[in-house]
């Protein structure tokens, strides 16, 4: 747990060849019924929250899962945490069939996959002191038998997330937002997980505190070798933590690539729009604000063909007819678009100032309606 134990990640040893988490063709649909009685002749409305999603996460690595509200990214996280039952698909976690685990077997394995959420105040017991909350997690997983050992372990994890032992005696309401999120991280790592699902873990925090928590997550990954599934609506925070990024839109992954490649060569128009909507703290960088029109359409009435076409500036007739598959467009780079941009325009070009550093790229932005 101390700094310097950076070798943690490589200690995983021979197993590290296979990915820690492998998700194949995962589907989660919700059936929606209006009223109490099933209407005759009217099939129930189906929300395709997660619609055939495939990805994997290597040991000690981070997958950033990005998309707007309603794209299914949180549902995906919940399915992986076994909080929702998927309709179909397979998940291999640490070499086991994760979705087939039941009863005690599942309970014993749950410690390997922990979660942190957006609002730490909502995920901490308001009437339990911090040390008690952490001890409870250890007790629930049957990890340390003695009260004293649990207490010692909670102090240890609090210190590893940059808090003092004295925080253990406080209640959640006595802490700042950043401290609370550190506590939920401490609780999650106290049981020694192999993978953490971070669902919008920094979205509710001040920008300055976000940076602290992201640095902490990175440092914990270096020392403990944990894998992260980092779910976020913004690309910026994900960039610095993720090794790979998958962009999700209406239940499907529309683009996935190694983090830096996604930023330097975004191929899907949706990825580009997401990139362009992140405000850059530099007024000389002129951004086309609001370049992404409209909102994510309802998941109950998906458009025909490409799900993104209604908001896409490049949509043509084929986009309304055929849904594009996620196909490889380079090393580890996959994109689901009939007209992907495979040129070498970078995110920097997309955002570059009007001072004339890259007029070609600038024109590239303006050409699109």
């Amino acid at each position: 747990m101390t700094a310097g134990a950076v070798s943690g990640a490589s200690e995983v040893g021979p197993e590290s060849a296979s990915p820690l988490l492998e998700v194949r063709h995962l589907v989660k649909h919700y059936r929606l019924r209006r009223g109490r009685l099933p209407a005759k002749g009217h099939p129930a409305t189906v929300i395709r929250a997660v619609d055939d999603v495939t990805f994997s996460i290597d040991r000690g690595k981070t997958l950033g899962l990005v998309g707007e509200s309603g794209c299914g990214k949180s549902t995906l996280g919940r399915v992986l945490l076994r909080l929702e039952k998927p309709n179909s698909g397979e998940v291999a976690f640490d070499g086991d069939e994760w979705l087939k685990k039941r009863g005690n077997e599942l309970r014993h394995s749950r410690r390997n996959l922990q979660a942190i959420y957006q609002d730490p105040l909502a995920s901490l017991d308001p009437r339990n002191r911090v040390a008690g909350t952490i001890s409870e997690a250890l007790e629930a997983h049957g990890l340390l038998a003695g009260r004293k050992e649990r207490r010692e372990r909670s102090v240890e994890v609090l210190e590893s997330v940059g808090l003092t032992a004295e925080i253990g005696d406080r209640y959640p309401h006595e802490l700042s937002g950043g401290q609370r999120q550190r506590v939920t991280i401490a609780r999650a790592i106290s049981v020694g997980p192999k993978c953490l699902v971070c669902d919008e873990a920094v979205s509710a925090l001040d920008v300055s505190v976000q940076a602290q928590v992201l640095n902490l997550l990175r440092q914990l990954q270096e020392t403990l070798g944990i894998s992260y599934l980092f779910i976020s609506h913004g690309l910026a925070a994900v960039r610095h933590l993720a090794d790979e990024i998958a962009v999700m839109y209406l239940g499907r992954i529309v683009e996935s690539a190694p983090a830096e490649q996604l930023f330097s060569q975004p191929a899907h128009p949706y990825t580009k729009a997401l990139l362009a909507s992140v405000p850059v703290p530099d007024p000389t960088v002129e951004q086309v604000q609001g370049s992404l029109r409209g909102e994510v359409p309802s998941a109950t009435e998906l458009p025909s063909g490409c799900r993104y076409r209604l908001r896409c500036p490049r949509a043509e007739s084929i986009c309304a007819e055929v849904e594009p598959d996620l196909v490889s467009s380079g090393i580890q780079h996959a994109v689901a678009c009939h007209f992907p941009d495979l040129g070498h325009r970078t995110s920097v070009d997309l955002l570059r100032s009007r001072s004339g550093e890259s007029s070609a790229a600038r024109n590239g932005i303006e050409e699109r309606p």
Partner: protein, 354 residues
């Protein structure tokens, strides 16, 4: 201090002039300063951003402007809040109500909680419109006009919907429509996009700018995100621990920020352009509580270049180059002699964008 500020402030004629605003809170027989000596102007048609972390006093400043602290018996508000020839801090409650929602509109962070969950949004907007108009057809026309203006598609249908039936972005647009119903001269927006997706944030910020352009309305935008401030504001005001620590026109501010806190806030924004950083440049520590603010410069315990003087003497806001900065070491920083946060270097990764 006030005189320097006045010289410095925008070219636009001031609509709102805040002078020496103090907000105190009485706790355990003691008055605690929550906001201290805050002075600034908002010009006609100008977007001014108040930037700072939670606890910096930026929201309190906005609430004080609208008289929202009056009912709180433990709060004392001092100073002049000049708006259209009257002092909002001393006018009667009756006159204040004429200003609230009419001359000054306000929107908040969480639109869902700002709207009534059991009333359709159209009716809620109509309630706000009815303060100025009486004829039903006229009200209805104005509601549709407002809904259309804030970019809610299919207005005729949308006005019948309840807040829970529409997305967060649409709720915020409805809240903006309510704020605009009184045709205000000033719109106060307190973290209006913090709860929204980045894509919707971009749309709402574009909408605020468009409204400003359409009506020459002034906007006081409160945010903790320097990215939002850079892309939206004409002028930036940075607050820390209840006081202004730096203020200046946006372009100059970002080019020559002279307060370590401002620089820290700018660096903390994760960027999608430029090189990927190995570490985030976080500002260490957290905002001190109002009850135990440190001696000297309130920022010194978190500052990487704090000197003995910073620990003892509170820096005054003074002119440094193009802006106002409250830092003893601002001149050294501007001339490049010292650099805050220099230990957290940006390391480009192989294969990364250079």
């Amino acid at each position: 201090m006030t005189t320097i500020l006045q010289e410095h402030l925008s070219d636009a004629e001031p609509l709102l002039a805040v002078r020496d605003l103090d907000v105190q809170y009485r706790i355990a027989e003691r008055d605690v300063d929550l906001v201290k000596g805050v002075s600034f102007d908002v010009g006609v048609g100008e977007i001014v951003c108040l930037v700072g972390e939670s606890g910096s006093g930026k929201s309190l400043t906005a609430n004080a402007l609208l008289g929202l602290l009056r009912r709180n018996k433990r709060m004392t508000v001092r100073g002049r809040l000049e708006f259209e020839g009257s002092d909002l801090n001393t006018i009667s409650n009756g006159s204040l109500r004429k200003v609230q929602g009419r001359e000054i509109g306000m929107i908040f962070q969480n639109p869902a909680s700002a709207l009534d969950p059991v009333i359709p949004i159209g009716k809620q907007i109509a309630e706000a419109v009815a303060r100025r108009r009486t004829e039903r057809a006229d009200i209805r026309r104005r509601v549709i006009e407002l809904v259309d203006w804030v970019g809610i598609s299919d207005p005729e249908q949308r006005v019948k919907q309840f807040p829970h039936e529409i997305s967060g972005g649409m709720c915020q647009r409805a809240a903006i429509a309510i704020a605009l119903a009184g045709d205000p001269k000033l719109l106060i927006a307190d973290e209006p996009t913090t709860a929204l997706d980045v894509t919707i944030q971009a749309q709402i910020l574009a909408l605020l700018k468009q409204i400003r352009d359409d009506r020459r309305m002034s906007v006081l935008l409160i945010t903790h995100d320097m990215g939002v401030a850079a892309q939206t504001a004409d002028r930036i005001i940075v607050m820390y621990a209840g006081s202004i620590v730096e203020a200046g026109p946006t372009k100059e501010f970002f080019a020559h920020a002279g307060h370590p806190y401002s620089i820290g806030l700018i660096n903390a924004v994760p960027r999608v352009d430029g090189a990927r950083a190995r570490r985030f440049s976080a500002i260490p520590g957290s905002m001190p509580e109002a009850r135990n603010r440190p001696e000297g410069c309130a920022f010194h315990p978190r500052c990487s270049i704090a000197s003995d003087r910073c620990r003892e003497e509170t820096p005054e806001l003074r002119q440094t180059g193009t802006q106002l900065t409250a830092c003893h070491r601002a001149d050294e920083m501007l001339s490049g002699l010292v650099k805050p946060w220099s230990t957290q270097a940006v390391v480009p990764l192989p294969g990364g964008v250079t």
